[in-house]
Symmetry: C2
Subunit: 148 residues, 2 copies
């Protein structure tokens, strides 16, 4: 079990990577972001992006999955009030392998709930060429270690 | 066709609504946010949320789809550099009908690309009881009306 107390400011949590296939990019975008440069390889080639790119929401959502699978599934997660500074810095293209990490920026106990702590993090997503493709920041709420 | 010049500061664009079914909430969360209060109705009932709730990413992604379907599909959309101030203010529960709108906050021509303009917007998502459940802000890039 990972408790709020176990998140240390400055700690970097490596969360693993994901390769974005063309079919998956198109599938997500048809459901949630049906713009031609996300859904239609031919139209995408003629767009400013020069080829199919993943929806920024898809890049973020995969980061969320890896956040849960890598460590949040072992916490008592209480959700998040929101996020700041989402930056889609470079396109994520079909075949790109994106590696995700999370750095702990701040940590504080809840003023109103003695069993809850908050953690502010910065997520980074980096492609196979070492280029930063997405960053975001935000607070998560976690259960605190019970007193013995 | 909707050009950058057609987005007016202060304008509110109603984008329609979506009812979140339990199966759909679980399906999204299994793929992208597999926390028990998003994927398991029984565990969700015992959680702080008291029942199944949609992933915040799901609420946002549906907003993106409605943004595209309601009007962005008729623009020359050039994507977005990022977002600010995503706030998940209230849980979205199975059966909730969420209405989405977009207010134009700012508009400016691109300094470097004469055929491009930028629009800053605030998205709002409101449930069937009139409660704000999600807000976010960010810039989008759009093609400008060609000179005659």
């Amino acid at each position: 079990m990972i408790w709020w107390e176990d998140f240390k400011v400055g700690e970097c949590i490596e969360m693993g990577s994901h390769t974005f296939g063309a079919d998956e990019i198109i599938g997500f975008a048809r459901q949630f972001d049906p713009q031609p440069f996300h859904t239609d390889p031919a139209a995408a080639k003629d767009s400013v992006f020069g080829g199919l790119i993943a929806s920024g929401w898809h890049t973020c959502a995969v980061g969320m999955r890896l956040t849960v699978e890598s460590h949040v599934s072992r916490t008592k997660s209480l959700g998040s009030p929101g996020l700041e500074n989402i930056r889609w810095l470079k396109p994520v293209r079909a075949g790109d392998t994106i590696r995700y990490s999370r750095v702990v920026l701040e940590s504080r106990a809840s003023a109103s709930r003695p069993d809850v702590g908050l953690v502010k993090s910065r997520w980074e997503a980096i492609n196979q060429d070492g280029e930063l493709v997405m960053t975001m920041e935000g607070w998560g709420m976690f259960g605190r270690r019970p007193s013995p």
